[in-house]
Amino acid sequence: MIAMALLKRLTTTAGTLAGVAVVVFVLLRIVPGDPVAMMISPGASASDIAVLRAHYGLDGSLLSQFGLWLQSIFHGDLGVSISLRRNVLEVLLERLPATLELCIAALEFAVLFGGTVAVVGTIWRNSWVGELIDAVNGLLLAVPDFVWALAFALFFGVLWPVLPLSGRLDPSAGSGMVTPFFWAESLLRLRFDVFADLSRHLVMPVLALSLPLAAVIARVLKDALIEAMAQDYVLLAQLKGMSRLRLVLQEALSNAIGPTLALTGVQFTFLVGGTVITERIFAYPGIGNMAIDAVINRDLPLIQGLVLVFAVIFIAVNMLVDLLQLVFNPRLRHG
Amino acid sequence: MADTLVKATGIEVVYGARRRFGRSTAGGNKVLHGIDIHIDRHETVGIVGESGSGKSTLGRALLGLTKVTKGSINFDGVDITRLTESRIIPLRRRMQMIFQDPMSSLNPRHSIRRILTEPLLFHGVATDKGDAERRVRRFFDRIALPSSCLDRAPHELSGGQRQRIGIARAALLEPDFVLADEIVSGLDASTQAQTLNLLKGLTREMGLAMAFISHDLSVIRSVCDRVYVMRYGSIVEHGRCDDIFTSPRDLYTQLLIDAIPLPRIDPGWLNRGRIDDATAVAATI
């Protein structure tokens, strides 16, 4: 039964990927003006333009261009970035880990913080604690990552300057990191000085990205928990002498996670999308920050590469959510 | 059989069949297995069965609201099984439906006036708004509802009032045939009796034919002339109520009748008819 569900999910994912490829290809080709003109740096000679046109097969029909383009992507050849003069794939792989570390840290914090708030809000739902949580959560839901980032920059960066305002690592700390996964590597190699400095740089961007997700998780999980708590099986468990905390965690949580997962998945993709602006505000060297420069400089190959990377991440997240749904919802498994 | 109003022959309904280019392939579960049923004019026919017997699906199939995968349905001489939507509309007026849950069967955002008058204007039963309003008010007196209800929304009325609005909506269109799908299960004995008496009165006055679906044999006995007993999508027995209830032929019907607890002391009832639990278990997992 699970295999069939997996197969069905893979086919839809393939369909989506194909669709994304078509949209990216078309989006960058309908650009007014000659695509090459968009790509060449000023002062390039006529022969350079010809080479570029040939490279992208722009003289062939649209379909053959698309075929050529797809082929090159499968071989990992995302072209050369115009503004950075480097292979797009190489640049992406170099800066992606920074963004991944940021997103995963934000996800962990959001799940922990949002989950705790939901459980506490459920246990004391009939008291002022419950009402307070609802009110504060209502406000949190309204504040996007963009506003959080700027508010933190203002507060921690200027009024009470405790945290570094930009960058990922102080040059003085002398990283000596080998892999691009600084945070993980510094922990593994017990370089706590580097780890501490990295963390100080991460606090504000992580908080800015995770608070909106935490607010969604808190609200959705709490509603699902309260609905589960009203069921008879929780009443029976209570009569068996279970404590309130155990009632929530053992009886209600297992059934509340299913519905929460779907929404958390969607919201997490917004979080990943949010790195574009949050990294920009904190000058954090991830792929998000680079995306804005790519757009401003009309660096089409780099833009193409970035959009594809983001799309792959989003599709992977959605697939992961669907698989987790199977784990948490026995009814789906048995069909 | 001139006076047969509704006739269904060999009906099969399969839910969840994956349709490839119009042809429904294997898969999906068959809910009705070749049903033959007929209802004559001015006759009240009961359809009884436990949950999962397919009685509701059969009811909706009779009205052409559920697609039938095999067999045909005939309404007053017209084969409505594969009629296109536009061609079935004139017939719709003559076959109406009353629902079990009065809360969800009335549009929460429409006023009662709109719910009752719009169908009359749509089918031309009423010539204009004023005529429609007069008909509704006259009918309200008949079913003891205050005409001030007209300006209310459904959630502002009691359960009993909403149920009578549901009956009014069907009856006002002066249909020939009404389907009542579990309209009293979940009501108290008193309100149940009031609702059933109202319905019996209306069917007699308006000469309606009615298909009355219920899981409660006692209700069926006091409302219907004939009854069809259903189990797992098939009809196990049918006949006049007096015959079926006094001398049921099919084992399942006997089991069903004997399982009804009567409000009288009957020491032997509890242990009578011990069907082997294995069959019960096998049948239900």
Partner: protein
């Protein structure tokens, strides 16, 4: 098994006799969130409309003599400039007031367009199911595989900056939010008995969608529109922050935030003022949405 049945006669007493719409309006206003948030947004609209009259200074004229003045209450503040001036000597409060115009225009128009496209497709997908639903859902899935912010930046860069392209970008990207929610709500409503009853009466399919189902979608739709207006304000802020929104001389909150971010150490208030305004506006649209959802849903309210 509800226990609390009053001694009232069997049929529920019928309440007052005022027409339905006035009662619905009274109910709307009784919801604190709707009254409060709605009030603030109306105020904002007034400020946008009367900007030239109420703004203390011309938002564009620079006065280098009065540059970088802190807001009132801090030492060195000038009486005429309540919220101080930026490093070019322009009055922050005036720019904020004029910035309201762009913000509201983008919010209302972009959210309206996104709602129009998304709701139409959502209704069709949720009601007609089958191929229609399949293709629309696939399109939504593909569209949601792109990060909205990056896509909007890309679109504006491609179409060219300016208010219309910002509005177009937001609408083109955020219609999926409406489509997803309205499709789910339509499918939920379609399962209710009142839809089957409408089919039994004989109304044609499209008639049922528009006259029976759509009114029941309204609470969700209205709440979503106000939420979307809040999101549109944010996206406009981001786009002008990145320098892609309106031409630089028309003041926008996002533009002010971008300048504020650059000189954050010298003139922090140039960042704080528009940020506070942005937050208050988004918060109000958000609370208005929640208030509407609770006020308009009869079941929730009872």
């Amino acid at each position: 098994m509800d226990e609390a049945v009053s001694l009232a006669p069997p049929t529920k007493a019928v309440q007052s006799h005022s027409p339905r719409w006035r009662r619905q309006l009274k109910v709307l206003m009784s919801e604190p969130k709707v009254a409060g948030a709605g009030g603030f947004i109306l105020l904002l609209a007034l400020v946008a409309l009367l900007a030239p009259l109420i703004s203390p200074h011309d938002p564009l004229d620079q006065d280098l003599m009065l540059s970088a003045l802190p807001p009132a209450g801090f030492d060195g503040a000038e009486r005429g400039h309540l919220l101080g001036t930026d490093n070019l000597g322009r009055d922050v409060l005036s720019r904020l007031i004029f910035g309201t115009r762009i913000t509201l225009i983008v919010a209302v128009v972009a959210a309206g367009l996104a709602a129009l496209i998304g709701t139409t497709l959502g209704l069709l997908a949720g009601w007609y199911r089958g191929l229609v639903d399949g293709s629309i859902s696939r399109l939504v899935e593909i569209w949601m595989s792109f990060p909205p912010v990056l896509l909007s930046i890309l679109l504006v860069a491609v179409i060219g900056s300016g208010v219309t392209s910002v509005i177009a970008a937001i609408a083109i990207i955020d219609w999926t939010r409406f489509c997803r929610v309205i499709r789910a709500e339509t499918m939920a409503q379609a399962q209710q008995d009142y839809v089957l009853a409408a089919r039994a009466v004989g109304y044609p399919r499209l008639y049922i969608l528009l006259r029976e189902i759509l009114p029941n979608i309204m609470p969700v739709l209205l709440a979503l529109v106000s939420l979307e207006m809040g999101i549109a304000v944010i996206v406009e802020g981001i786009l002008s922050f990145v320098g892609l929104s309106v031409s630089s001389d028309t003041p926008t909150w996002g533009g002010m935030i971008a300048e504020g971010r650059q000189y954050i150490h010298q003139t922090w208030w140039v960042l704080a003022a528009p940020l506070a305004a942005l937050f208050a506006t988004v918060l109000c649209f958000n609370q208005l949405g929640e208030g509407l959802r609770r006020a308009l849903d009869p079941v929730l309210r009872r």
